[in-house]
C-alpha cells in the first residue's frame, strides 16, 4: 500500500511522519526545492491555546489537541518550542467583556490555566505595555515555535522511517479508476498509489480539482510583519494579543524563538489567483506598526531588520477541510487557516489513523520517533563545542556572526538537503540576524558551490530564476 502526500508544509510533513507509524509506503511531493517554503515559512509561529476558536468546530478541537501535543512532538523532533504564555490586552473598559467571553469560551474547550489579570498587575508584569491597559487574559499554554524547522524535522524523521521526499516535483494529475484513487502524475513521473492526501496549502483548491473533488474555494489573506532582532528580554516575556475582531486575532507582538520580535500580522483579502502575492505594502506595514504600538508604545524600531508577508489559505466556508472526500482514497488536510500550525500535529495523528484504518495498515513496529538534531554550536556548552571542533575543525569557523553559525553547521545543512541560500538560512539561521546576510551570504554561496561542485551562478536564493550572481567578472 502506498500513500502520496501532496505538499511538504508543516501539515504534509507531520502527516507523512505519522503515516510512517503504520506499514505501507509514503511518498511526499513538494514542488518547491525545499520543505516548508509555503504558508509554513511566513506566519506568527504561535502555538495557540484555542480560546479564539468557536466551540464545536474542527479548528477548536484540533487547536486544543495540537497545543497539548507540541511538547512531545517538538521534543522528539528536537525543534524549538517555548511555552511562554500570552496576554490578551483590554485597553479600554469596553473591552473587558471580550476578555470574559474569551475566557468562558476557552474554559468550555478545556484550555488550561486561563486567568483574568487586573490592569495594575499587568503593568507590573509587563513594564513596556500600553499603560492604558485595564485588564488582560493570561493564557499560559500559548507557545512559540519555529514552523519551518518543525516541517524540516518531521520530514527528516519520516525519511528516516522509510518515507521518500520528492522536492522540486509538482503533482499535476490524480488518476482515478472506478471512483477511487489509483495514482498521481507529476511533472517528472507517474506513481501508482492507493491514497492521496491534499496538504497543498494555498493551492489545495487546485489539487482538489485534479481529483474532481468540489471544495468551497480559498481566499489568500495576506498578513504583513516587521521583524526586530536582539530585543531586550523584557519585551519577549509573552505573546501579546489585542482583543480580537470578528475578522482576525488582530495585530500582535510575538517573541520569536531566536531572540527576535514579530509585529503583525495584518489581514487583507486578495483575489483568489493572487496566491504568490507575498509582497509587503506601504499601508500594510503602517498598520502592522500602528497595531503593535498600540500594545507596546515604545518598541525599539531601530531594531527592525526586515518586513515580510505571508498568505493564509482562508477557506470560504471558514473551516478546515479534513479527512475523506467523495473520491475514495482522496483525503484532505487543507483550508489550513490559522491556527493550522497549532492544529497540525493533532490533525496529522488523527488523519494518519483514519487512512491506516481505511487501507488496513498495521502499526509499524520499527517506527523510531526520535530525530537526532544536527549540532547547533550557539546552544552547546563549551566543552561539547570544543569536542565537536576537535572532531571537525569546521565547527570552529564562524560563518554567521549575528546568530553564531559555523561552517560545520552550514555544511551539515547542505548535506541534509539544503540546495539554496534560503535552504541554508532556514536550517541554520545564518543570515537571519541583525545584518540580514550582508556579512555571510558570500560565504554561504561559496560553501554551497563547493559542496555541490557547481559554479556560483548555479546557486540560487530559493530555486530556479533566483540566481544570486550572473557569472564571473571579466
Amino acid at each position: 500500500m502506498r500513500t502520496a502526500v501532496i505538499g511538504a508544509g508543516v501539515v504534509g510533513a507531520l502527516l507523512a511522519r505519522e503515516l510512517c507509524r503504520y506499514e505501507g509506503e509514503v511518498l511526499l511531493f513538494e514542488r518547491e526545492l525545499d520543505v516548508g517554503w509555503g504558508v509554513t515559512k511566513a506566519n506568527s509561529a504561535i502555538v495557540h491555546a484555542g480560546f479564539h476558536e468557536r466551540p464545536g468546530t474542527a479548528s477548536a478541537r484540533f487547536c486544543v489537541e495540537g497545543n497539548a501535543l507540541f511538547p512531545e512532538v517538538c521534543g522528539e523532533l528536537a525543534v524549538p518550542f517555548q511555552r511562554i504564555g500570552a496576554y490578551v490586552l483590554a485597553l479600554a473598559d469596553g473591552e473587558r467583556a471580550a476578555l470574559e467571553g474569551l475566557r468562558a469560551r476557552g474554559e468550555e474547550l478545556g484550555v488550561p490555566g486561563l486567568e483574568l489579570v487586573a490592569g495594575d498587575e499587568v503593568r507590573r508584569r509587563l513594564p513596556d505595555v500600553n499603560p492604558a491597559v485595564v485588564a488582560a487574559l493570561w493564557a499560559p499554554s500559548v507557545g512559540i515555535t519555529e514552523p519551518w524547522a518543525l516541517a524540516l524535522a518531521a520530514v527528516e524523521n519520516a525519511c528516516a522511517n522509510g518515507a521518500s521526499l520528492h522536492v522540486g516535483e509538482e503533482v499535476t494529475g490524480i488518476c482515478l479508476r472506478a471512483g477511487r484513487v489509483r495514482g498521481v502524475r507529476t511533472d517528472r513521473a507517474a506513481y501508482d498509489v492507493d491514497a492521496v492526501v491534499n496538504a497543498a496549502g494555498l493551492d489545495a483548491d487546485r489539487v482538489a480539482a485534479l481529483a474532481g473533488v468540489p471544495v468551497p474555494g480559498l481566499v489568500p489573506r495576506r498578513g504583513e510583519y516587521l521583524l526586530l532582532v536582539d530585543v531586550p528580554p523584557s519585551l519577549r516575556s509573552a505573546v501579546l494579543f489585542p482583543v480580537p475582531t470578528p475578522h482576525s486575532k488582530g495585530v500582535l507582538v510575538v517573541p520569536t524563538v531566536d531572540g527576535g520580535l514579530l509585529l503583525g500580522p495584518t489581514a487583507a483579502d486578495l483575489a483568489p489567483e493572487e496566491r504568490d502575492a507575498t509582497e509587503t505594502t506601504t499601508d500594510g506595514l503602517a498598520q502592522a506598526l500602528a497595531g503593535a504600538r498600540r500594545l507596546v508604545p515604545g518598541l525599539p524600531l531601530g531594531k527592525v531588520v526586515k518586513a515580510f508577508a505571508g498568505l493564509r489559505p482562508e477557506p470560504r466556508d471558514g473551516e478546515f477541510w479534513l479527512g475523506e472526500t467523495n473520491v475514495r482514497g482522496f483525503y484532505q488536510a487543507a483550508g489550513m487557516r490559522s491556527p493550522g500550525l497549532t492544529a497540525a500535529p493533532a490533525i496529522a495523528r488523527w488523519l494518519a489513523g483514519g487512512i491506516a484504518a481505511d487501507l488496513g495498515l498495521a502499526p509499524r513496529a520499527s517506527f523510531r520517533p526520535l530525530r537526532p538534531a544536527p549540532p547547533r554550536v550557539a546552544e552547546l556548552p563549551p566543552e561539547e563545542w570544543d569536542a565537536l571542533i576537535a572532531r571537525d575543525p569546521c565547527y570552529g569557523r564562524i560563518v554567521c556572526r549575528c546568530n553564531r553559525v559555523t561552517e560545520g553547521e552550514v555544511v551539515a545543512a547542505i548535506r541534509r538537503g539544503a540546495r539554496t541560500v534560503d535552504g541554508v538560512k532556514f536550517r541554520t539561521r545564518a543570515g537571519f540576524g541583525r545584518c540580514q546576510g550582508g556579512t555571510c551570504t558570500d560565504r554561504i554561496l561559496a560553501l554551497l558551490a563547493r559542496e555541490a561542485n557547481a559554479a556560483p551562478d548555479e546557486i540560487s536564493l530559493r530555486g530556479p530564476g533566483s540566481a544570486l550572481v550572473v557569472g564571473r567578472v571579466r
Binding site: L226, L227, D230, D276, T278, E279, T280, T281, T282, G284, L285, G302, V304, V305, K306, A307, F308, P382, E383, W385, D386, I389, A390, P393, C394, G396, R397, I398, R401, C402, R404, R434, C435, Q436, G437, G438, T439, T441, D442, L445, A446, P456, D457, S460, L461, R462, G463, P464, G465, S466, A467, L468, V469, V470, G471, R472, V473, R474
Partner: protein
Amino acid sequence: MRTHRVDVLVVGGGAAGMAAAAAAARVGARTVLVEEGARLGGVLDQCIHPGFGLHRYREELTGPEFAARLVAELDGVEAWTGQSLLAVDPNRPRARTVGSEGLVEIEAGAVVWAAGARERPLGALRVPGTRPAGLFVAGLAQRLVNIHGLLPGRRALVLGSGDIGLIMARRLHLEGVEVVGVVEIRPHPGGLLRNVVQCLDDFGIPLLLSHTVVEVHGRGRLTGVTLAEVDGAGAPQPGTERFVPVDTLIVSVGLVPEVEGVPFAPRDPATGGLAASTRLQTAVPWLFAAGNCLAPFDLVDTVATFGARAGTLAARHARGELSPAPRPVPVRMGRNVAALVPSSLVPGEEAILYLRAREPLDRARVTVGPDGPTRTARGVRPAEMIEVRLTAEETAAMACLQEVAVEVTALR
C-alpha cells in the same frame, strides 16, 4: 578550553584593531589580536580603489596596500585570524574566543573593541514590495566582485550616495554592469564631491537627488524598483513614481556599529556606537574602543590614529599606569552637527573630536561649548568629518560643565 594570558586583547583586525595592537605592542604590552576573517584588513581588504593613506603615509594607497602597511607594523603582536570573539565578561577583562583549534579563554589587562560596523540592511528601511534575489548591501556586492570575482547582475541601481555607494557604482560600471543611476534621498550627495566626480560624472552615471526606492518588484530575481521623488522631510510624493527595470539593487544606506559583543558597555544614543571618552575609554575602565564601532568614519587615517591611541592607553591601563580619568564631560551634537565622536572629553587632557556637519557650508565656525574654543573650517561637507583638536588648557576650562554642545555655524 585553553586559557591565554595577555596584557591587551584587541578584537577586530581592521585598520582600527591593527593600529591599536601595533601601538600596544610598541609600548611593551603582550598583545593578542583576534580577527574573524581569514585575513587581516577588515573592509580595507575589499576596497581595491585608491584613496587610502594620504594623511598617514602621504601616499595614495589602495585598501589592501594600506592594510599591508599596517600588517608590517604588527611587530610583536600575536595576530590570530579565523578567530572569533564570542563574549566578553562584563566584570573583568576576560573574553572567550573560538577558532578551528577550539575555544580559547583570554585573560587580559585591557580590551580594545575594534569590531567595525555592519551595513544597514534594506529591510531596516521598511521598503515595501517583494524579496527577490538581486538585493545586495554594497559591501556584499563589493566582496563578490573584488574578492570572489563574481558579477552580481547586469543592470543595477545604487540606493545611497555615500562613498561606498559611489565607489560601487563605478566598480560595477567598470565590470560591464549597466549602472542606471545612484539614488539619494537627501538633496545633496552623501559622499565626497571628489567621488561624485570620479565615480559618477566621469562615467556618465546619473545621480538622482531627493529620490528614493518605494517598492521592490520581482519574485525570483529582481525585475525592477519603483522610484519616487521625496519632499524636504524625505516623504515620497504621490504621482512622482516611476518604474526602473533593473536586476540588481545595491543598497548603501548606512553603517551600524558592531557592538553586540559587549552588551554591557554603554552606547552613544546618537551614533549607536560605543560611548567612549577622548581617551577612547568606555565607562568600563578596562574597555577601550576605536574605529567604526564608535561611529562610521570616512577616512582610514583617522581610524588608525584613534586605534593607536586606544592601543597605547589600553596598554598603560593594563600595566596600571593610566591615572583614573577625572569626570569626563559629555559632548553633545548642537546646531548643524550630524555625528560626533567620541562621546565625552576628559578635562585637562588634549582631545581630538571628529564631527560631521548636517548641511554643507563654504566657510564655517565650529564652537565647542558656550564661550568655548572655536575653530574655522572651509568647504564643510556632510561627507567629510571635521577634526577638532583641543589643548589641555582648553579642555581643563570645561571641567565644571554638565555637558558641552558642539555647533557648526556659517562664517561670513
